[in-house]
Amino acid sequence: MPVRSAPATAPVVELLGVTKRFPGVLAVDRVDLALLPGEVHALLGENGAGKSTLVAMLSGLVEPDAGTVRVEGRERRIGSPRAALQQGISTVFQHVMLVPTLTVLENLVLGMSWWRRPDRAELERRLAAIRSEFGITLDLDQPTGELSLGEQQQIEIVRALLRQSRVLILDEATSMLTPSGADELGALMRRLVKSGLAVVFITHKLDEACRFGDRITVLRLGRKVGELAPEGLAAMDQAAAVDEVVGLMFGDRSIAEARPTRLRKAEGAPILTVRGLTVTGATRLARVDDVSFDLRPGEILGIAGIDGNGQKQLAEALAGQRTVATGSITLDGRDITRDSVAERRRLGLRYLTDDRIGEGAVGGFPVATNTVLKEIGAPPFWSGGIERPGRIASHARELIDRYDVRTPDETTPIGRLSGGNIQKVLLARELSGEARVVVFNKPTYGLDVQNIMASRNRIAAIADASLAVLLISTDLEELLDVADRIAVMAAGRLTGIVANDEGARARIGALMIGRAA
């Protein structure tokens, strides 16, 4: 646990009973929040808990429907981003807020005083001070768009420091960082609060909240469900803190622990047979090279490997979205190598893309339409080319019910739902009709803990229902949790397939770094 700085007396910024409603959702519901100088305040909650909405209210992007905001004890209205900055509240948003076509210098001076020429010498002097105090260096003349997301985030932090902020908000700042980058950010936050800043660190990752936060506030469905003060946190060790927070987040500690249980073992002859599958790609990594495997009903075959080693190409080749150069795909004795996407779907081969919004759904269309997106024109939802909205709606309502999709109703545009709920809709769509083989590509990517667990359980249940599952994932834990066998993919090739039993982790590790198991 980091050394805690002495608790400060009065909050810089205080939210009292703030509420924000969006069409169909109560995003933030009567939340109180006090930000103290010298403290990293971790704000924890699953996707859709209302964290970003809270940030938006603090940074002047939206105004609360009810409740008050106090800055240094006095009631204030934060009606615009400008007003927030004037109150000393700086924000590093969840999505980068830099202009990619401008240089780093230009982004730093943006909004400072638009009638005056930026004074480079003065800026460099202040940057030197920041460098010596916080250890951040920037190359001022780089075009911002060419920098990595981590570097862009540093620019935003430096910008906040240049503005002499009193409060710095970091919304999901670690989601685009590597684990070591996250640790560096943690150390930086420590230095920032030492200098007297109040830091708000927003995350949906439990361990980060416990590791970096002096105080932890937990949000759930827009409501504040608990707060752990520094006094209490300091008294616990990390495991106890995690336990405590899990309890707050889910109301039930067992959820995060529960491992999917598999009821049945794979049986019978392979339903999907892939032999020598080769797909040419633009780069050395983005291709599939001589891949062969069998998949039996009731079996989950995991594909492990570092992202970008041909996994997506393999999935798309199986789904029929990519042309196969050589090799064959056989589904239940029938060669489907040249069949169209629709034909494969009809035969029971289903594919869940990792690109849920870009490829899997039409964000602006209602949930109902998205449930029948792959059956446009086909009965029973269309008859003679005419759409039957009643049929589609009742079908959608049934799926929403069965898969526990959290949505106001079936007419809500799917893009408004959280990632976990979009995932449920897509899964519901893919499993409807006669599904026999399901290909998942990174199904839990970007979801929060609770939805990850629910998804894994659902995948296990699918296999238990005697469907064959190909599970592509970059998360080894996930594969070890549910898969029967695990193959490792590197540079487009399967370097080995191992049974998921004792010692599987070590053998997969060896395969991943290129040694035989």
């Binding site: 615009s80 400008r82 900055l85 020429r117």
Partner: protein
């Protein structure tokens, strides 16, 4: 054929290119400012026409051409005000509103002109010229470039001035940010709507001035629909210029030259069908678009209304 290569012909050709090119230059520079800030200002044709109409009317009634220019700018800005309120303030579709405004102004000016002058087309006295001492003595380019109305010089001076503004000043930075990523500008503390509003008004002023130049200097007369697509060519120039005022100038010279050549060839009485010659400027637009259209890089948020906090 030799007649085409005499000094007199070349002078006339170049002079014509300037007369036709200056309104395009002003319109293109104006449009460029809007586009930089993220507003596709399709209403510019209407703004030019309003500038031409009001500019001519005031100059004719008051006998003061300078006052006419002021009125022309005001006319262009008045139309731009509608564009700004509807498209920036209310976030309505920029293409629909722009086309609507253009059609509206075309009808309105034709109607007003008909009421005021019926079918007569009164003329203004020949425009005032300000020869540049020394330079005016140069052969061919002297009389064509340096013996012109002051507005011509002003239009050319605007090119380096705007280039400096865009590249070197914080205001230029602000404009570019408004067109590339308005949300980033907003959270940096500058109101995107204000920036866009002012940019659209500037476009209106430039377009109105260009229109007034057409009526009061180049033609000396107002005819309904006289801008004849100059505003739209201005849009093409701004789009092809990749944000650089100098490229707007080059484009304006090419298109102005094509327009001027049309007139010159007709005057020279070449044995070519007039329809073919009149096609020239438009063929030039097409050729340039085919050659360079794909290289045009437009601001990422061009044409998209900005709504704070939306997602």
């Amino acid at each position: 054929m030799e007649a085409l290569l005499t000094a007199a012909f070349l002078t006339a050709l170049l002079a014509g290119a300037v007369a036709a090119g200056v309104p395009l230059l002003l319109a293109g520079l104006g449009e460029q400012m809007s586009e930089k800030a993220g507003v596709l200002n399709i209403g510019i044709e209407g703004m030019m026409l309003m500038g031409a109409y009001l500019g001519f009317l005031v100059a004719f009634e008051s006998g003061n051409v300078a006052l006419g220019f002021v009125a022309g700018m005001a006319g262009g800005m008045a139309v731009a005000l509608f564009m700004a309120i509807l498209c920036v303030g209310l976030g309505l579709n920029q293409i629909v509103i722009g086309i609507g405004l253009t059609l509206g102004v075309e009808g309105l000016t034709a109607l007003l002109h008909h009421f005021q002058f019926s079918t007569t087309y009164p003329r203004l006295a020949a425009a005032w010229r300000l020869p540049v001492p020394g330079l005016v003595e140069l052969p061919v380019i002297g009389p064509a470039l340096f013996d012109r109305h002051p507005l011509v010089y002003l239009a050319f001076l605007l090119v380096p001035l705007l280039a400096w503004l865009y590249r070197r000043t914080a205001l230029g930075l602000t404009l570019r940010a408004a067109g590339e990523k308005p949300a980033a500008l907003d959270v940096a503390g500058i109101d995107v709507q204000t920036v866009r509003f002012l940019a659209v008004l500037f476009t209106g002023a430039m377009a109105g001035l260009g229109g007034a130049f057409m009526a009061n200097v180049a033609a000396g007369i107002f005819i309904p629909f006289m801008t004849g697509g100059a505003g739209f060519i201005g849009i093409v120039l701004a789009m092809l210029a990749r944000g650089r005022p100098a490229w707007v100038l080059i484009g304006a010279v090419i298109f102005g030259g094509a327009l001027s050549l049309t007139t010159a060839l007709q005057v020279a009485g070449l044995n070519v069908p007039t329809d073919l010659i009149q096609m020239l400027p438009f063929a030039a637009v097409m050729a340039v678009l085919v050659l360079y259209g794909r290289k045009a890089r437009l601001p990422a948020a061009l044409g998209l209304p900005y709504v704070r906090g939306a997602r």
